[in-house]
Subunit: 208 residues, 2 copies
DNA sequence: ATCGAATCTTGACAATGTCAGGATCAAAAA
DNA sequence: TTTTTGATCCTGACATTGTCAAGATTCGAT
C-alpha cells in the first residue's frame, strides 16, 4: 500500500508482493464460490479475481482443499454472525434465544447458499484441520448452551438432553438444506415474513 | 450379447454397437460416483468403466448434467427401495410404517452416500426433467400418504397436517445429511443396532 | 439391396489443478 | 551499508477434464 511504484506492476497494488494476499484470496474465493457455486469453483478463477497469477494461491493454501478448508472456516464466522444477529433481536429468555439459533441457521443457508454447502456438505474440506475444527466446535457449543438453558440440564451429562440437541440440529439443518436445494417449492415463493411463520410452526413440532 | 464376433472389438460385447449402452453407462456411472464421490465424478471415467470411448455418453445423455440427472432418477429407485424394505419388515400400523419411512431414508444415506448427495444436494441435476421430477414426486407422495394415515387428515387440505409432513421430512433429512457428512461423530462409531435406537429417540422428538 | 438415421470412435480445443524452476522483494545478518 | 537468506509471486509445462466436429460403423425401413 505504501510502497513506491515500481516499474512492473503484476498486482493491483503495484507491488510485486501483495501485502496481504491470503486475505485477498479468501475474499475472492468467497465471491467466486457464491457466483459459480461449489461445483463450478475454480482455483484459477480465484487467482484471476484477486489479480494474481494462477499459481499464487498454492503458496498460501497448498491445494484447492486447503483453500476451501480456510474458506469454510470463514463460513462459520458468517454462520455464527447470522445466529447472533437473530439472538440480538430476540427476547432474552432461553426458549426465544434457542429459536433465534434456528432462524439464524436458516438465514445463513438462504443468504450464503454455496457457503452453506461448503460448510455442511462438501468432501473438499478437511475437518481435521484445527482452523476449521475450532469454529465448527464453537458453533456446536452454541447449540449445546442453548439447549442447556432451555432444558435446565447439561446435555454432556444427561443423555435425554443430548437427544434434544441432536433433534434440534437435525430438524433445523434439514429445513435449511432442503430450502437451499430448492426442494420445498411452495416455501420458496413466500415472502420472508410468511416463510418465517411456517418455519416457526415446523420447528414447533419439536417437543419432548 | 447375441451378435457374432466381429474382427475389431471396441466394446466388451465385441460389437461396434453396444446394444444397451445407456443402461451400461448408468451402471458404470453409479460405480464411479460411489468410488470417487460427487466432486470427483468424471464423464471420461464413466466411459472407461463401461469400455467405450470418452465421447460415447454424449449421444445418450447430452452432457454431464444429463447423465447425472438420469443417475439421480436411478437414485430415487434405490431410495424408495430402501424405504419399502423397511416397511416390509415393520408392523403394519400407520405409525410403524411412518417410522419405517424415516429409517429407510437414513439407510439410503448410509448405503449410498454419494448418490444421496446427488439426489438431494447437487447443482448438477435438472429437476425440470420429467424423468427426475416424476420419481421425486413419487417419493414425496409416500411421505404424504404416511402422514395422512397417521394424522387421519389429508395434508393437501389441512395446513397443520402439511406442517407435519414438512417437519418429518426436515427432521429425517437433516439427520441423514449430517450422518452422511460425518458431522455426528459419536453416532458414526456406534453399531448399527445402537445407532438405530438413538435415531428412533431423536425422531421421537417429533410431536404435535 | 440401398439409403438414411442412429450409434460409436477419433481428434481437437480450451480450461483446470498441480508441479518445477525462476524472478522479485523484505528483512535479518554481516 | 552491503549481503544474504527466505518468503512471495510469476512463468511455463503437463496430464486430465468436458465438449464439439467429423468420420466410421451398424441398424432398420423401404
Amino acid at each position: 500500500m505504501s510502497k513506491t511504484e515500481t516499474t512492473k506492476k503484476p498486482t493491483k497494488a503495484g507491488t510485486y508482493h501483495h501485502g496481504d494476499l491470503r486475505a485477498a484470496l479468501l475474499e475472492a474465493a468467497e465471491t467466486v464460490l457464491e457466483e459459480n457455486g461449489i461445483e463450478g469453483f475454480s482455483l484459477r478463477a480465484v487467482a484471476k479475481q484477486a489479480g494474481v497469477s494462477h499459481a499464487a494461491p498454492a503458496h498460501h493454501f497448498g491445494d484447492t482443499a486447503g483453500l476451501l478448508t480456510a474458506l469454510a472456516a470463514v463460513g462459520y464466522q458468517r454462520f455464527m454472525a447470522a445466529q447472533e444477529a437473530r439472538q440480538a433481536n430476540a427476547e432474552k429468555n432461553a426458549s426465544s434465544q434457542m429459536q433465534a439459533l434456528g432462524l439464524g441457521y436458516v438465514d445463513f443457508a438462504l443468504q450464503h447458499p454455496a457457503l452453506f454447502r461448503l460448510v455442511f456438505s462438501s468432501d473438499r474440506t478437511n475437518y481435521e484441520d484445527e482452523t476449521l475444527a475450532k469454529p465448527a466446535n464453537q458453533a456446536f457449543e452454541k447449540l449445546v448452551d442453548g439447549t442447556r438453558n432451555v432444558a435446565g440440564i447439561d446435555p454432556y451429562t444427561d443423555n435425554e438432553a443430548m437427544i434434544d440437541v441432536l433433534a434440534a440440529w437435525a430438524m433445523v439443518h434439514g429445513l435449511a438444506d432442503l430450502l437451499n436445494a430448492g426442494r420445498l417449492g411452495p416455501l420458496q415463493r413466500m415472502s420472508d415474513a410468511e416463510r418465517e411463520e411456517v418455519i416457526k410452526k415446523i420447528v414447533g413440532r419439536l417437543r419432548r
